[in-house]
């Protein structure tokens, strides 16, 4: 269980930045800002949060997971590629039945971010087919999903209607 009580982890030092700018701040400021971790490795926090793919240097195929090799061409060199933070809703479903502990209804979708497909929830929108429509323009947004027992805050992401931003 994630504790809702916050206790500052004096003895915890982040092992690696993991793309999270908060870790790079001076010590005096760190006492004022909750330590944050992204929900997934491919979410880059900081002033301009964005998603980041492993891009095959040989064929340009993009992947969000840790790679052994490229599923498109088989080569093994990758570079980090920033994904566009705006996109178009290519597909969606409104999930009304889910595993225990998952709040429903929620909107799951595929967002075409300038040619790269991204899986994410569509957030800040009424979860019904009148408000969620194919082709709608969306923008990446981040939000806290909770604190762990050490007071570290995890940051999740979703895509919200562009008009609302």
């Amino acid at each position: 269980m994630v504790s809702t009580q916050r206790s500052w982890p004096h003895d915890r030092i982040p092992v690696e930045p993991r793309g999270c700018d908060t870790f790079g701040l001076p010590d005096d400021r760190r006492l004022d800002v909750a330590e944050q971790v992204p929900l997934v490795d491919y979410l880059v926090l900081g002033d301009e949060p964005h998603l980041q793919a492993n891009e095959c240097t040989a064929c340009g195929a993009r992947f969000f997971d840790r790679r052994n090799a490229c599923a498109s061409c088989g080569k093994t060199e990758f570079t980090k590629a920033a994904i566009a933070t705006e996109g178009v809703l290519r597909s969606f479903t409104i999930v009304a039945f889910a595993a225990p502990g998952i709040p429903v209804p929620f909107v799951a979708g595929i967002i075409d971010c300038d040619g790269t497909q991204v899986r994410a929830n569509v957030v800040d929108v009424e979860p019904d087919p009148e408000h969620v429509t194919l082709g709608m323009k969306l923008k990446l947004t981040t939000f806290p999903i909770g604190e762990d027992s050490a007071g570290t805050e995890a940051i999740g992401f979703g895509f919200a209607p562009l008009e609302a931003n």
Binding site: V37, F64, R90, S91, A98, A99, T116, L134, D148, G156
Partner: protein, 400 residues
């Protein structure tokens, strides 16, 4: 001289539905013994056994079955390939016969799924005490429901909606009408798990699982098994005229996996591998889509059936919506699809499905389908998708 054609000599499916008195082996044995009897052969004549039971994939259903119906010492292949498990078992037996290792083989698929619920694939553990990155995405917490959905009704809902994004017309009502068709078809199938017609209003008004799929638009979890005996052309020629007359030719047997393309690791692409399998199958069989008298395709959800009209080239590219709206896929139409009731109504005991759909086609080609017989059926196609993905396509032809 014998050709390298392969024939279905005997084939059976059990009654699908709740089978509380029967365990997995009982169901597998019922189907296997049924298929052997249907083909007029015995387990002693089988040179290979391929068997699948996805939920118990580690338990070796093939050997468990042998211990009930005949431990003859033949090679056994226990196969698992998601919802394509049954088709994979059949294809394994076909490959062994084609390779000349034996002249007859038995394939079995069996599943007990009654009461399994609708949520296969969906899971999210309680969050841990501390946010610790885990797995290939370095996730500090469960992703199901936070980064899209893992449940199958939701995944396949998006498959159908994506088709709508590309080609238009994919409304909630359209998908519900596909389900209405399959539920109507199953009223003529005494082996179906559900054989009650449902009105469009009932389907649209039922419990929403993952928009636009309501409960009756999802495949029905149930118990069941199916089995087939395959035989080489040379061996078939030595058998009785009655066995030869009822034999059904396997004109194409194809299995594909999912080639990489952009987005396929975000939303499974069930289209490209199905297209490829269909192209290969039509070429192998020397058959064109318009030659098909009936099609059993993998309607695991109403949203999936639509895209496979296009993938199997039953319609012009992008034209699945008007194709369905024309009535073509009703049993009275030009290309009847899922006259068995499909997975939505006949039921979907996962590993049985890939042989049960071939049983349905064979039943019509033999002219033995009773009330639901498609008159004069000579050529049929059976298709399954196992998410991950694997696609099996078989084309079957009536004995000349």
């Amino acid at each position: 001289m014998a050709s390298d054609d392969i024939w279905i000599l005997g084939i059976t499916m059990t009654k699908f539905g709740k089978r509380p008195e029967d365990d997995v082996v009982d169901l597998a044995a019922e189907a296997a013994l049924g298929a052997l009897a249907d083909g007029g052969v015995t387990i002693q004549e089988m040179g290979v056994l391929a068997a699948g039971n996805l939920m118990g994939a580690a338990a070796g259903i093939g050997q468990q079955l042998q211990k009930q119906i005949g431990q003859t010492g033949i090679p056994v292949y226990n196969v698992a390939n998601a919802c394509a498990t049954g088709a994979t078992a059949l294809r394994t037996a076909i490959m062994a016969v084609k390779a000349g290792e034996c002249d007859m083989g038995l394939a079995v698929g069996v599943e007990k799924l009654s009461g399994a619920g609708l949520l296969s694939g969906g899971s999210r553990k309680e969050d841990a005490d501390t946010w610790t990155p885990k797995g290939r995405y370095g996730a500090v917490a469960g992703l199901d429901g936070r980064v899209g959905t893992e449940i199958m009704p939701g995944v396949f809902a998006q498959v159908g909606m994506e088709y709508g994004y590309e080609h238009g017309g994919a409304t909630f009502e359209l998908f519900a009408r596909i389900s209405e068709k399959n539920h109507s078809h199953s009223t003529l199938n005494p082996l179906a798990a559900y054989s009650k017609a449902m009105t469009l209003e009932q389907i649209m008004g039922d419990i929403m699982i993952a928009y636009p799929n309501t409960r009756p638009m999802c495949s029905a979890n149930c118990d069941g098994a199916a089995a087939a005996v395959v035989v080489s052309d040379a061996k078939l020629k030595t058998l009785d005229p009655d066995q030869r007359r009822r034999a059904v030719k396997v004109s194409a047997s194809v299995l594909t996996s999912d080639p990489w393309d952009e987005g396929c690791q975000q939303l499974p692409n069930v289209n490209t591998l199905t297209r490829r399998a269909a192209v290969q199958a039509y070429e192998q069989a020397g058959v064109a889509p318009e030659d098909l008298d009936l099609v059993e395709l993998h309607d695991c959800f109403a949203t999936a059936e639509l895209v496979h009209y296009d993938n199997l080239q039953l319609c012009a590219p992008g034209e699945a919506v008007p194709f369905f709206e024309s009535g073509a896929t009703w049993r009275t139409g030009s290309t009847p699809v899922n006259v068995s009731g499909g997975l939505e109504s006949k039921g979907h005991p996962i590993a049985a499905t890939g042989i049960a759909n071939i049983w349905e086609v064979c039943h019509h080609l033999r002219g033995e389908a009773g009330d639901r017989q498609i008159e004069g059926a000579k050529v049929g196609l059976a298709h399954v998708i196992g998410l991950g993905s694997a696609c099996g396509v078989h084309i079957l032809e009536k004995a000349a």
